[in-house]
Symmetry: C2
Subunit: 135 residues, 2 copies
DNA sequence: GGCCATGGTCACCTTCTGGTCAGCAGCGGA
DNA sequence: TCCGCTGCTGACCAGAAGGTGACCATGGCC
């Protein structure tokens, strides 16, 4: 029998839908991780290099939480050597427009407060900007 | 000279726009408070009753943070007796569609995970549903 | 003066989150 | 056999966020 990912009891999310959504996506690295998974499945080791400054333990921690919330999927490929891949679920993908909106609002906000200089580029881009349509 | 609201040094927000936005709106009560302010200016005492279960100290704390981030405005009216009102700024109002999207997504999320029963009504509604157009 | 309401502060404590560091199992290659 | 890579866990810790309770200043009213 396959050893499943340890499932912590997934403590109850807030009652109010908006707070629930916020709780689910606000974690120190979740937006970034999610963004990278929007581009396709990624192995842990790849994510580690894509999200520098994150430790492996914390990365896994964030991934587990997102998995528990149904945003991402964890698949073990029974190859030799075996491989583990993380990918966004439908539910996770449905967050893309929201993340995009947040990103735009964040820029707007920095703009209004004259703090644009303290702002990095928005790595979250509309899908078509990342995957040019194949004519 | 008017005594200004004590300004804590407003610690720097994250560099990435999306994270910045998340940081700004994710606080235990911010979404709810904001929602109530979308409907118009509110006095502290009124907010306290609108958001039950929040203590005054925490309420003020959340209001201060949002004020610092430019989402809301605090005005003291020099009437007798003087009155303090909190209201959403343009910047704060610009969050409405996002909060709405989060709310919808939250419902969608609960739906997908079969946890709709654990969900309260979405108090955040599109503006027109709350303020019917005046012919 | 005594009492209440409003808006607010301070000191303190608890919980949650993220973080460091060390360690481990499975597998392949030298 | 020892080393290194990959994926993962556990002990422990520090800081932030949220929460409680006591207390304060101003001003009205009786």
């Amino acid at each position: 029998m396959a050893k499943l990912t340890k499932q912590l009891p997934t403590k109850r999310l807030p009652m109010l839908p908006a707070e629930r959504a916020l709780k689910v996506i606000s974690g120190r690295w979740k937006a970034v991780i999610l963004y990278h998974l929007f581009d396709g499945p990624r192995r842990l080791s790849v994510l580690k290099t894509l999200v520098p400054n994150i430790t492996q333990k914390v990365l896994i921690q964030q991934l587990r939480e997102m998995e528990g919330h149904g945003l991402i999927r964890r698949e073990i490929f029974a190859e030799i050597p075996s491989r583990v891949e993380y990918s966004a679920t439908r539910l996770g993908l449905s967050l893309e427009p929201i993340l995009l909106a947040l990103c735009e609002w964040g820029q707007h906000h920095a703009d209004e407060l004259n703090e644009v200089d303290r702002l990095a580029d928005c790595i979250i881009r509309p899908r078509q900007a990342r995957q040019p349509a194949i004519a």
